[in-house]
């Protein structure tokens, strides 16, 4: 995969993207094994059930990333003149909403279980001719699967900034926090083991609140990008530094008096509208073309650059009105 839309990816990004695809497939495989393993030991523990469903939900970001990649690589067409980059944002939103609703349902379920004082039941299994309490197997399985997310979570967290991919970043972020889910489910099962039935419901509530929180963050980030908030860093921590660099670059042109930029995040690449107030009354087409090329070459993420010559800068672009 060498290009995204009409953008040719630099070597570093090509390598990162290939790596990201491999990691996403690895994650899907690992999670599928995890889900199957937990299914074997699933007893009456609400915490285990919640952790199990969380594992299933955690597949959505990976699947939406891989599906969106199929679309965003296509060049713009007459029917889709901006390319199909927004599919990444749609996938992000779907993942967020799924986490939000299922997490909410699970939270309600665990609260209801706690209120009605439902005692979770965990029986035994016959293992190599011996009768073993299923709770021990649950703890064993959860202790084994806790390792995976540390490995792929860190790998994806390294790739997400290189690719400026928020789905990948959110996915990595959730993976890195996944151990809390696993530990909580172990605590829940141990609680059942020592006769503290409520600990299971409390652990389930903890896990589901975590899912809801992930869902809220993801849905919010996706919606903000889909409604074209000012482009921000991959982790949404600050406005994207490229905005400042574009303005500096344009201001450097001898024919430009002042400039301002409106930049939106299309999912992985940016659309840039640069407003320039020229020094004189005439602007040469070559100057405009050169400026456009300069901005495009600033970064591989510059998908579409339009330069608009104006007599005064729009306020929302300069940041003189509202939040910068």
């Amino acid at each position: 995969m060498k290009s995204l839309g009409r953008t040719d990816l630099p070597t570093e990004q090509q390598r990162a993207l290939r790596s990201a695809i491999r990691w996403e497939w690895f994650t899907i495989g690992y999670t599928a094994v995890t889900i199957a393993l937990i299914a074997f030991v699933l007893g009456g523990s609400q915490a285990m059930k919640t952790a199990w469903i969380e594992d299933m939900l955690s597949l959505i970001p990976q699947i939406s990333f891989l599906v969106a990649l199929l679309f965003i690589r296509r060049p713009p067409t007459r029917a889709f003149p901006f390319g199909l980059h927004r599919t990444m944002g749609v996938g992000h939103l779907v993942a967020g909403v799924a986490l939000l609703t299922v997490g909410g349902t699970l939270a309600v379920e665990s609260v209801m279980g706690l209120i009605s004082a439902e005692h979770p039941a965990i029986g035994t299994v016959q293992l190599f001719g011996r009768t073993v309490w299923l709770g021990w197997l649950m703890i064993a399985v959860m202790s084994i699967i806790v390792i995976g997310p540390f490995i792929y979570g860190r790998a994806k967290a390294r790739l997400a900034p290189v690719l400026h991919n928020k789905v990948l970043y959110a996915d990595a972020d959730m993976s890195k926090a996944d151990w809390t889910t696993t530990v909580a489910s172990i605590v829940g099962v141990l609680g059942i083991g020592i006769g503290w039935w409520w600990l299971d419901g409390a652990a389930a509530l903890f896990i589901s609140v975590g899912i809801v929180w992930d869902g809220y963050r993801n849905a919010r980030a996706a919606v903000l990008d889909l409604i074209d908030q000012r482009a921000r860093r991959y982790d949404d921590a600050a406005p994207h530094p490229l905005i400042g660099r574009i303005v500096a670059e344009l201001d450097h042109e001898p024919w430009v008096d002042r400039s301002a930029v409106r930049m939106r995040d299309m999912g992985q690449v940016f659309h840039v509208e640069a407003f320039v107030v020229p020094t004189g009354r005439r602007v040469a087409v070559e100057d405009l073309d050169r400026a456009r090329r300069t901005v495009s070459e600033l970064d591989w993420k510059m998908q579409d650059v339009s330069i608009v010559v104006v007599s005064s800068l729009p306020e929302e672009a300069t940041g003189h009105r509202g939040r910068a």
Partner: protein, 230 residues
């Protein structure tokens, strides 16, 4: 004819709902309940007729002052730190047995020497004849009770009535023709299915227990694994 412990008839549609038990032990015998229990269960099939002419005793909570387990109560949390200590103790195996019953059913059965079992008829495996509960399945439950040093107090009723009793803590287990497809699984703990239970071969029979009494369930499943195989 064998007479096994106290029989409580569940009220049928025709009879008024006045649960009545017939107590067959004399007051003297009751004082010596533990020893007698062992003898009765070991000599199952011999004559143990109830002492007749005794007024039926209404089954009330007073008959089982220990009733709902106080044993479960002292395992309640004392402080948040107890959780950490509890986990560590449990993991290192220092004195806390895992699993433990939240309501202490197993402890109570062992302490009081009484296992309150509910029976719903199941072909020849569990036959209810008047006040008598018999059959291979009933024997199995009584042998399990004997292993805990307890005798069985039978309650006969429909599955739903038995499940209600399980929920209210009036029964320790229920046995009958329930299979692993039982609709009661969200109101009672369901054991693993056993296909070789005497008289119910080939059927995936399960026993019902109070929800979440995991030590008791483990004890029963361990016993059944040994006796009839998984």
């Amino acid at each position: 004819m064998p007479r096994r412990g106290v029989i409580r008839r569940m009220p049928s549609l025709e009879t008024p709902r006045v649960p009545v038990v017939k107590v067959w032990r004399t007051a003297d015998a009751r004082a010596d309940a533990g020893r007698e229990t062992v003898r009765i269960l070991r000599r199952r099939g011999s004559e143990h007729e109830p002492t007749d002419g005794r007024a039926p005793v209404r089954r009330t909570a007073q008959r089982h002052p220990s009733g709902r387990s106080p044993a479960g109560r002292h395992t309640r949390p004392l402080a948040p730190t107890a959780l950490v200590i509890g986990c560590i103790l449990a993991l290192t195996g220092c004195g806390i047995s895992i699993p433990t019953d939240p309501d202490g059913t197993l402890q109570r059965v062992v302490r009081t020497g009484e296992l309150r079992a509910g029976a719903s008829p199941a072909g020849t495996a569990l036959v209810v004849d008047g006040d008598r509960v018999s059959g291979a399945l009933a024997d199995l439950v009584e042998e399990f009770a004997a292993e805990q040093g307890a005798r069985v107090i039978w309650t006969v009723g429909s599955e739903e009535a038995l499940v209600e009793d399980l929920e209210q803590g009036d029964l320790d287990l229920a046995v009958g023709e329930m299979t692993d497809q039982t609709p009661w699984s969200d109101r009672a703990s369901v054991t693993r299915p056993y296909t070789d239970l005497p008289g119910l071969e080939g059927r995936k029979t399960v026993l019902l227990l109070p929800l979440g009494e995991n030590a008791f369930q483990s004890a029963l499943e361990t016993y059944l694994d040994e006796e009839v195989g998984p």
